[in-house]
Amino acid sequence: MFLNLLKKELKEILTISSIVLIAAMSLMYALIGQSIGNIEEEITKKPSIGIVNLDSGRFGLLVTDILKQISTVLYTGTNIDEGIKAVAESGTALLTIPEDFTEKISSGVQTDIEVYWMLKGLGIMDSVSSGVIQNLIYYMRNEISKTLMKENGFEHTDFVLNPVIRNDVTFLKGKELGNVSPNQLLDTIFPQSMMTSVIIMMLIMTAGGSVISSMGLEKENKTLETLLTMPVRRSEIVFSKILAAAIAGLIMAAIYMVGFSFYMGSFSMSSGGAVIETIKLTVNDYFLVGILIFTSLLCGISISMLLGIFSKDYKSAQTMNFPLIALAVFSMLVTLFKDFSTLPLALKIVTFAIPFTHPMLAIRNLMVQDHGIILWSILYTSSFAIVMIAVVSWFFNSDRLIIGRVKTRRR
């Protein structure tokens, strides 16, 4: 009988139109990801520039040679207007070496290089290339310094330019992470944490929305009374709805995440090998994250079902999911900007009480080997889900589901 109910629920939730809709969203993300390209590729790609060299001296020639080696030169000449025209279409910048470049450097006077930026837009990816040009100028400046030092009798130019090497050791929650800077750590953790948060959001939107809609449809189609008089335990009806929503949610989230991973891939950067080794997650860790996502999903679905009980019809059910999404957004924003341990006590309590917070924090906690908090999180979310399912089952056994809200009886 349970399978009969489950099959009916899945048939109701996993319709062709709902799958096509989520697949279309996934495809859209994938296309956006493909069209904006990869940030790492952008950074490692040779920049396309134009060079206007008005200086015929040795430093002017040196700079031109260096730039030619490390970039794709679209224009070399002495006319700024022509240079701008040449790089306007596909170049990043036009570098102009002034007439007195060599003369000033040789006489110990600081000189300048004019950079005409060809900014294509104000998006994140549009500004990546300007960072590459800045690195180019930094490299060029070092080469001039080395030449000057050699002329003044310095042998170990690399040493003089960089006499101190930074060695990072980061302490996080008492754990020592060697050869890792906080920035490297965040670059590694952020995409994974972000991904977990997005998965949770998607699961709640799809699975929670499905179960609320299912309740709304039962009421709108007037099928609930028939279902409740079938020879099946009410708890089986409740559990079939929850399980069907969980299965449908996982399928839809998986389809969605394929596209979203392409999108996120555009912004991901490979961190140093040392960083990954230090905080690498094991198969067991991912298993724990999986359990935590599932228990949180059960919490979300059972809350949705409870909200669905109060819906009048399909239309009113649609708006019932908003408070749940708001809770998930709250958890995501709080954990995105602050670590749980550094939150004020009141905010800590509120954030902890929201079951969706736990999987969002799981990746970070596992990266610092904090397995204890993960087990507590699993215990909390499981208990929360059990209590919520019991409450929903109680409502299914009460008159409330049939007659709606009534005024309390005066005695």
């Binding site: 009969n4 048939k11 709108e220 189609n221 009374e225 028939t226 008089t229 079938m230 005024k407 309390t408």
Partner: protein, 240 residues
């Protein structure tokens, strides 16, 4: 043993007393009609008997099982058709009957049950169409078929011909009458007095949560010196 035994049933919705201590008994093989004006407490009574609502007080037994303590046992023997019932619109009529049938049988027995449902519904090839494309009459026939195909020992039908045209209503009445021959006991509510007179072996008139009169249609017509149940109904309601 009586099929349904109700003793001093009361049901409150918050402060509103919908049913005010009613009592009646339904015997096996009877078609028992519960009739009364809108808001009299008919649907509430039917919902209590079909284990959807719990009584505030009083004793309600179906086949000797208490509706409060043994609802799951009762659900094995009953079939309830609500007045404004619907069906899953994403399913075909056939799928819907199969879905319901699976709660009661499987294998060959299920096939027989569904075939019986198809026969009762009498929708022809439309039984394989999506329910969303059905007219109100087709939907009601499907629901009556759903309620009777499982061979319930007690069929609780709330306004079984509600919204049907004359021909469809007549067909449904015939189906109900025939089902009794196969051992089904029927409890129905109706506004249609002709229907009640035609179908019911016994009737109870309920008004404002109280049973104001009960008996066989002929007994009541004799008692009130009336030509039909409609006149009895008008007289009783006027006096109560």
């Amino acid at each position: 043993m009586a099929v349904v035994e109700i003793n001093n049933l009361k049901k409150f919705y918050g402060t509103l007393e919908a049913v005010k201590g009613i009592s009646f008994v339904i015997q096996k093989g009877e078609i028992f009609g519960l009739i009364g004006p809108n808001g009299a407490g008919k649907t509430t009574t039917l919902r209590v008997i079909s284990t959807l609502l719990k009584p505030t007080s009083g004793d309600v037994k179906v086949f000797g099982y208490n509706v409060v303590t043994e609802p799951e046992k009762i659900r094995r023997f009953i079939s309830y058709l609500p007045e404004d019932a619907g069906a899953y619109k994403n399913l075909t009529g056939m799928d819907f009957l199969t879905f319901i049938g699976r709660f009661f049988a499987n294998g060959e027995e299920l096939t027989k049950m569904v075939n019986k449902g198809v026969e009762i519904a009498n929708l022809g090839d439309r039984i394989r169409d999506k329910i969303s494309s059905y007219s109100k009459g087709m939907m009601r026939r499907l629901l009556v078929a759903r309620a009777l195909m499982t061979g319930p020992r007690l069929a609780i039908l709330d306004e079984p011909t509600s919204g049907l045209d004359v021909l469809n209503a007549q067909e449904v009445r015939k189906i109900i009458k025939d089902s009794v021959k196969s051992g089904v006991t029927v409890l129905l509510s109706s506004h249609n007095m002709l229907e009640v007179e035609f179908l019911c072996d016994k009737i109870a008139l309920i008004n404002n949560g109280v049973i104001v009169e009960s008996g066989t249609p002929s007994e009541l017509m004799k008692k009130y010196n009336s030509q039909n149940i409609e006149e009895v109904f008008t007289e009783v309601i006027k006096c109560s």
